[in-house]
């Protein structure tokens, strides 16, 4: 039964009046093909997953608060580290970026919607089922996946539990969802730009997402392949990774990291786009070096396919291979350095103000660069033999993912929230959220560098006594960071309910098509393509 709801003042709407009704209640969200609705659902889903994954991080930090076994069994601890990683990567960061893409890309390029709206609906709605399967597997006899989010063979083949099939199935669904989302982004950007929106006029958020989408369609199928091999090795008697049958466990790591390294750029390139949108707005200057930003993003994407084995220096690779991967990895620092330089140059002599989105973007630049530097340290092959599988690695990838990807997502939400809701968020609460997050995240992750260099291994529920003080400190930082995010939820709810009305432009220095439509953005925007000057 289709329900048609007529709105009283229909004449005010555009001539395509059949588009303007949205079903009410749950069916609006189930059947929607509107990019803004789907974007909102992705973002809310990512926030929920962020808190579920965050709760698991709290369990991990609780257990590591003191040496010895306190609260959980080692097997459960392993499930927590595994599922925390899977949820944060595939459930929080990636859907949040896809949500931002859904909301902003059509508005930024002057398109009425995404190119493939029905597929868009489907690519969102299979995601909750993927994570339901993954989370419910934790309650199976024998527990959920416990082999780390990297599911190295033979941990995931010979030594894994019955939940492995569910893990594989849920990763397949996540992959299908990401691939469909990526195809949608590419087709939208390729075919639906408003007249006059040439390639080199596209906002950088659109550019970075365009390149990210290509990375997604190239590596998510490889992930699907490698989980399929794990599935057949475990249940159907193949020997891809089993030496007894002629396979090789090191092959697993090659295939996995062939996916895994581009994957880390999938989680950071859109962040570069967000920061490149925010910094010029609050510095009230045009972005410095637009073209070099585009080329730098493309070079990072291409290089990301040539560096995967830097995750595997300790597998006994020959020296020439480690040298190749070491130098290729260090080469990525060049385009990344170009980006950081351009952001700083954009701010140089700008008329800067420091609203919450700008604060998060500034923190991103500093803290992501710290994460980049520890990445360079890890790239040095001989040094990596000491750092490998220690908390130094944990510190590195949390700096690039939490203070990098997550901070950029939070910055983006504060930046575009007035456009989405029509209301300004509470600036004071937002500043509280920023400062609490900034201080606690550094209490949380910075000391991990020290315990890592001193030799504390990752993914172990207990540790030697000399690490006790640092770990108590890290855990307190972790709890504070977790609590600080509740302020964020408070800000979001408060802003969605009301507040000072936002202007169309919202920010004084904001430029771009999304700031030319009313706030809140109407359900349908740019049904007639805008004119690009």
């Amino acid at each position: 039964m289709s329900v048609v709801i007529t709105e009283p003042n229909d004449q005010e709407h555009h001539e395509h009046d059949h588009h303007d009704h949205k079903p009410s209640g749950i069916t609006r969200w189930l059947y929607t093909t509107n990019h803004k609705d789907i974007g909102t659902m992705y973002l809310v889903f990512a926030l929920i997953m962020f808190f579920i994954g965050g709760t698991m991080a709290m369990v991990i930090r609780l257990e590591l608060f003191q040496p010895g076994m306190q609260f959980v069994e080692p097997h459960f601890f392993n499930q927590m580290t595994t599922v925390h990683g899977l949820i944060m990567v595939f459930g929080a960061v990636m859907p949040a970026f896809t949500g931002l893409a859904n909301w902003m890309i059509p508005m930024m390029i002057g398109a009425p919607d995404m190119a493939l709206p029905r597929m868009n609906n489907w690519s969102f709605w299979i995601l909750p089922f993927a994570f339901l399967i993954l989370l419910l597997s934790l309650f199976m006899p024998g527990g959920g996946p416990s082999f780390g989010w990297t599911f190295y063979a033979p941990l995931s083949t010979t030594y894994s539990g019955d939940s492995t099939a569910l893990f594989v199935f849920s990763v397949h669904i996540m992959g299908i969802s990401s691939i469909m989302g990526a195809i949608n982004v590419i087709v939208t950007i390729w075919n639906m730009r408003a007249p006059g929106m040439t390639w080199m006029k596209m906002p950088l958020f659109v550019w970075t997402w365009f390149i990210t989408a290509f990375l997604l369609i190239m590596v998510m199928p490889v992930l699907a392949g490698v989980v399929t091999m794990v599935l057949t090795d475990k249940y159907f008697g193949t020997s891809f990774f089993d030496a007894a049958g002629g396979g090789d466990p090191v092959l697993f790591q090659h295939i996995f990291w062939f996916f895994g390294h581009p994957e880390v750029y999938i989680m950071i390139l859109p962040a570069f786009g967000i920061v490149s949108a925010i910094i010029p707005t609050f510095a009230r200057k045009k972005l410095f070096g637009y073209a070099s930003m585009v080329y730098a993003t493309a070079s990072i994407a291409i290089l990301s396919f040539l560096v995967w084995a830097h995750h595997m220096f300790t597998t006994g690779m020959p020296v020439f291979a480690t040298l190749f991967f070491m130098y290729a990895t260090m080469l990525i620092a060049v385009p990344t350095g170009v980006k950081v330089f351009n952001w700083v140059a954009t701010m140089w002599r700008g008329a800067m103000t420091f609203e919450v989105p700008m604060m998060f973007a500034l923190a991103f630049i500093v803290l992501f660069t710290i994460g980049g530097f520890s990445g360079l340290m890890l790239a040095i092959t001989p040094a990596d033999f000491q750092y490998h599988d220690t908390y130094f690695v944990v510190a590195h990838f949390h700096y690039v993912l939490v203070t990098g990807a997550i901070f950029s997502i939070v910055a983006a939400v504060y930046y575009w929230l007035p456009k989405w809701t029509g209301n300004m968020y509470d600036e004071t609460l937002g500043q509280w959220h920023f400062w609490c997050s900034l201080i606690s995240v550094n209490l949380l992750f910075f000391p991990m560098h020290f315990v890592g260099l001193a030799g504390m291994p990752r993914r172990i529920p207990d540790y030697a006594l000399q690490f006790a003080d640092f770990n108590a400190f890290i855990s307190i930082g972790g709890f504070l960071f977790g609590l600080s995010q509740l302020i964020f939820v408070w800000v979001l709810i408060k802003c969605a309910r009301g507040g000072v009305k936002a202007t169309d432009q919202v920010w004084e220095g904001a430029e771009g098509l999304e700031w030319e439509v009313p706030s809140p953005a109407p359900y349908h925007t740019f049904e007639t393509p805008p004119v690009i000057k």
Binding site: A115, L116, I179, I183, I186, V187, W190, N191, I217, M218, V219, M220, P221, V222, L223, A224, G225, V226, M229, G237, F240, A243, A244, G245, G246, D248, V250, L251, H254, I255, F258, F259, G316, M317, P318, A321
Partner: protein, 185 residues
């Protein structure tokens, strides 16, 4: 929209091709490792060793390691733990296998050479690892390995470690029996 279809088609093709590429990495990896010897795998076929010239000017230490896999109940060890050889000399080395259980077990040994690049120069004329080995319960046997080191071995290598891991493949062997009977072996 009609103009979307060709693009969608191409993108789906890229996706499928990359799924295939993931699987293509499996044989590519084997070929790459065979050519370069970088993962320490030795050739699975016999070398002839006929035209090797013995290079008496240098000595290479060969270290022998052998271990049964966790699920393999056999006792499995080399007769000696190391020997010094001249490149080009053909040597025979025996490995002792003993099945302390009550049942027949089929084993498959998988070699690995370290340093990996030396694997290309470690040639086997005859090896128990070329085929599956059957051993009845309570019995033992000597398993021979006939090998020589290629005189072309680069000068930087003076020690080669050969490791065998022995796997229990009784189940896989039993699964293949009806098949082999049909072929008429």
């Amino acid at each position: 929209m009609a103009q979307n279809k060709p693009l969608i088609g191409k993108l789906i093709l890229v996706t499928l091709a990359m799924f295939g590429f993931g699987f293509a990495l499996v044989p590519l990896y084997d070929v790459f490792c065979d050519l370069t010897g970088i993962n320490g795998k030795t050739a699975a076929v016999a070398a002839t060793g006929d035209n090797a010239i013995v290079d008496t000017s240098r000595e290479i230490t060969i270290e022998f390691l052998a271990r049964p896999n966790k699920d393999m109940p056999w006792v499995f060890k080399p007769e000696v733990h190391s020997m010094k050889v001249h490149p080009g000399e053909i040597h025979i080395m025996n490995y002792l296998a003993e099945n302390p259980t009550g049942q027949m077990i089929v084993g498959q040994a998988v070699p690995s050479v370290s340093p990996g690049q030396a694997a290309l120069y470690f040639n086997k004329i005859e090896c128990f690892c070329f085929s599956q080995q059957q051993l009845a319960g309570g019995k033992d046997m000597l398993m021979p390995l006939q090998f020589y080191v290629d005189p072309a071995l680069p000068a930087q290598f003076n020690t080669i470690t050969l490791n065998y891991t022995l796997y229990d493949v009784t189940q896989a062997w039993a699964d293949q029996q009806p098949l082999q009977d049909n072929i008429g072996e």
